[in-house]
């Protein structure tokens, strides 16, 4: 088995978002009475997802607000047993995705959106008063902006699959549940998304991988 180890050595990508521990003390069924804590728990990851899907901060915030309002209304209409069986996280992602789809359908993404994402400040989340950034970090920001732009060039269904898989760190079955698609379709969409991104990013991928990572671990 040890001969196989290098395969996973450098490129095993940890999930971007830590999955919730599986065996925690059982949480109460989601309800509108404790909706504030649902908002606190999920706003950041839903915002991240909406931003990757739209490439626009304002749109992403509005989408998240709209998604929470819809979730609140839907929860209010559910029977207790429906709420007890509800898988909150995938459900919230699904609502966010639906709101995103509706929004993008009526509003084509523009270059303005891409420019907003290319803003290194937005990426770094650091104030302008902060210390001057080393050149390497500035370069890295530009590279990350390229990745974000490339992601936005994907058709929406592939972008959703790739975002959920690699950025949100969701498993295939979870993505299948969120997108309401068979697992095989999800796998194929993830794969196609990567193929297209590989083509768009081309040789730049090598530059983005941090130095020291062995690109030819198998040879």
């Amino acid at each position: 088995m040890s001969v196989l180890a290098p395969l996973l050595r450098e490129f095993t990508v940890p999930p971007a978002v830590q999955p919730a521990p599986k065996t925690k003390t059982q949480k109460p069924a989601p309800s509108i009475e404790r909706f504030e804590s649902i908002v606190d728990d999920y706003q950041r990851r839903l915002y991240g997802f909406a931003l990757r899907m739209t490439g626009n901060r304002e749109d992403a915030e509005e989408i998240v607000q709209d998604a929470f309002v819809r979730a609140y209304r839907a929860l209010g209409k559910m029977l207790p047993e429906q709420r007890a069986e509800l898988r909150l996280q995938p459900w919230l992602y699904t609502i966010t995705l639906n709101v995103t789809r509706n929004r993008l359908r009526s509003k084509k993404p523009t270059n303005v959106a891409l420019d907003a994402l290319a803003d290194p400040d937005a990426l770094l989340r650091e104030s302008n008063e902060g210390p001057a950034q080393p050149e390497a970090i500035v370069e890295r920001d530009a590279d990350m902006a390229l990745v974000e732009k490339a992601l936005l060039q994907l058709p929406m269904h592939l972008r959703a699959a790739a975002t959920l898989r690699f950025i949100e760190g969701r498993s295939h079955p979870e993505i299948a549940e969120i997108l309401n698609q068979p697992i095989g379709t999800v796998k194929s969409h993830v794969h196609r998304a990567v193929r297209i991104l590989r083509r768009i990013l081309g040789p730049q991928i090598g530059r983005i991988i941090p130095q020291g990572a062995n690109l030819h671990a198998l040879s």
Binding site: V3, L4, L7, L8, F11, T12, V13, P14, P15, A16, F35, E36, V39, D40, Q43, R44, Y47, G48, R52, R57, A60, E61, V64, Q65, F68, V69, Y72, R73, G76, K77, A122, L123, L124, R125, M144, V147, E148, A162, R165, F166, I167, G169, S171, K187, S188, V190, H191, V194, L197, R198, I205, G206, I208, I209, A213, L215, H216, A217, L218, S219
Partner: protein, 247 residues
Amino acid sequence: MRCREVEALWDELRSEGMPSLRDAVKLHLLSCPPCQELYEEYEGVAFCLSSLATPEPSCDLSKKVVEHIADMRIKSRIDPVQLATVISPIGKLYVGFKENRITFIAICRGEGVAKICEQVEKRLRRQVVNTDPPQWLLDTITSFFHTWKFDDSHVDLSDLTPFEQEALKAAAKIPPGEVRSYTWVAEAIGRPKAARAVGQAMARNPIPLLFPCHRVVDSSGKLHDYGYGIEMKARILQMEGYRATKP
């Protein structure tokens, strides 16, 4: 395994399940340099995506959402729907209203008023208060059964989604005694592919009769369905003067 088959399984290497599949993929990759090269590029893309910064929403996003929802809660409590019973040519109606606008109509099928209150609370997310029908309400309903039209200053769809509102307003443009298809409504609101969503909006219509979801039918002309049964749909259409044309 062939290269193409293995390529479709690369993502398995980062999954926890199916160790035998993972081993098969690893074995193939170790013995196939062209696949190795492509696989490394694939993992490079995955690495790039997972390296993207986790964006932070503005610090007041959570506050905005919570405030909006608190507003909705207050609105629901301080602005309840009043519910009155009105006798009409098709039987007893439960009519919900706020100020001088109708927000809900249910045709009585023998269920008690408690059941109807529950329906209103669920559909409009508002508390319900029972009351006697005011004169404007009686006039609106009486006038509707004479003219099959209504004054839209006496209805309120604001608790519905924008799409539902548009679909119902488009349906209200269908002349009495005539029918149109779900696709027709979808096209009328500029969403030609949304015929199924129009069907959903009609099914969830909180003000049937006035917003005439009964005038919306299959594209083949079949009456399709109605919340109060297809016989009731046929009966209302017949009262309006609709004569089905046989295909």
